[in-house]
Amino acid sequence: MQELLQQLVNGISWGSIYSLIALGYTMVYGILRFINFAHGDVYMVGAFVAYYSVFFLGLRSGGVAGALGALAVIALAMLAAAVLGVSIERLAYKPVRRQARLTALITAIGVSLFLENAGILAFGAEPKFFPQIIASKSLRLPGGAYVTTHQLLVLGGSLVLMVGLNLIVYRTKIGLGMRALSLNRDVANLMGVPTDRIIAFTFGLGSALAAAAGVLVALSNPRIDPLMGLLPGLKAFVAAVLGGIGSIPGAMVGGLLMGIAETLVSGYISSTYRDAIAFSILIVILLVRPAGLFGRAVTEKV
């Protein structure tokens, strides 16, 4: 029982990372019906921006200074990623918006390859180690499981960010515009919602979340390298599909489920199959219920 609890703690911790990344996928898909393959790499960029910021700002580890420092680099990473996301959208995706879906998908693959390899050029292929500015301690939970400060950081950080996102999407005007655009672009336009600006905002927002996820992970799992975004990106995508791609609550729930499933299988069945879990879930979802948990099936008009 204690072990199950531990697995759940671990699973939820990872799951919230997947949720943060999945939100970016789902928001962009909701408005543009486009899978941003390069999204996972923004997660990587976030981690690296934070890494260099730590040195640039001369941050120290431990205690309150450490916590403030962490906040600072998260903020910086989110800002940088938002700028990156908007730039990618303007430069690479907007020109192909009216083309066939396949063209856009391949462009996204190109952007992804670009980010990864530019990362290798800029940062070197060798992994770097993020300074531990938050000390690692274990806290015992009722029930016997342990949760580390890092995990608390991840959980807390993700929670704050997701609550923030919810506020933006459901309580602000711009969020209303985003939702309207994803439901019916023409009618949204007739309400005066400016498509281009909202799309740019969506990309920026999603990228910021992914970058935050990257930093949160780096603070607890210090090993970072330019290809670190590949696998989490794919898994987060699967999480988004699981929850129903285009659905924001779906992305959050999907991410958590994905994290828990992965941890449980890895713990109880076999860890070598860990990466295959995501893809197996994907196949099952696509065959059984392509719309996902919260999504709506779209039918073609004949």
Partner: protein, 235 residues
């Protein structure tokens, strides 16, 4: 107020409008009637910026708005209430109405208009927090019109407000249109239900396969046998 000059529109490979011209004077209700496929919705969509014309001009109070984007045109006060209502089923009545006022910044004005919408459509106030999808067809039409009013329109483009509604509701909707008109609104009304439209309007244009074949004061057009022909063909 609003003038369309020699508008040519191509849509999906066809030339849907072959150079049409019409005007709506301030405070007037003009109606555009015609059979299905005649091009009425295409005309409205071009005015509101969703379609781009191949040739011709659209002029609002002397200003050329032909190539502006839809959200700019909304900002200028041309509000298009779409065919089939376009109510966001997943959003609440409140959110739908808020969307209508999306571009506006004057809180007081928005609140005032919201009250006005509630007066016209008490049902919307009752269902304020329900999602749009739970409303009946008639209520959705009311919501769509209400939403249009929330934008403080200078010109209101109404696309087939009676579509899919039972006769009793059609009468209600047209009564509301009359009320809105009486308060000074300028309206361009597109309708398949020719009789009701002609009854409510000041001026009428008859569209047949992309051309205006008849125009004049609504009362005269209503008496003209040619109108029936435009719909049901000549012998």
């Amino acid at each position: 107020m609003l003038e369309v000059q020699n508008l040519v529109v191509r849509y999906g490979g066809i030339e849907a409008l072959h150079g049409i011209s019409l005007r709506v004077e301030e405070g007037q209700i003009a109606t555009l009637i015609g059979a299905n496929g005649a091009g009425k919705t295409t005309c409205l969509r071009t005015i509101s910026g969703l379609n781009r014309p191949a040739a011709g001009r659209i002029v609002l109070e002397g200003r050329d708005i032909t190539h502006r984007s839809p959200h700019e045109i909304v900002g200028l006060g041309v509000i298009h209430v779409a065919e089939g209502r376009g109510v966001f089923a997943d959003l609440t009545v409140r959110e739908n109405l808020d969307l209508g006022a999306w571009r506006r910044k004057d809180r007081a004005g928005i609140a005032r208009d919201r009250e006005r919408v509630f007066e016209l459509f008490p049902r919307l106030k009752e269902r304020y927090h329900q999602s749009g999808g739970t409303l009946s067809g008639g209520e959705q039409q009311m919501l769509a019109i209400g939403r249009g009013l929330m934008a403080d329109p200078r010109v209101l483009l109404l696309d087939e407000p009676s579509l899919g509604l039972a006769p009793v509701l059609v009468a209600t909707i047209f009564e509301i249109i009359r009320t809105i008109h009486r308060s000074g609104a300028t309206i361009l009304l597109v309708e398949q239900n020719a009789r009701m439209a002609l009854r409510e309007s000041d001026y009428a244009y008859v569209l047949e396969t992309g051309r205006i074949v008849h125009a004049g004061p609504a009362a005269e057009v209503a008496q003209d046998p040619k109108v029936a022909e435009a719909y049901l063909g000549s012998g």
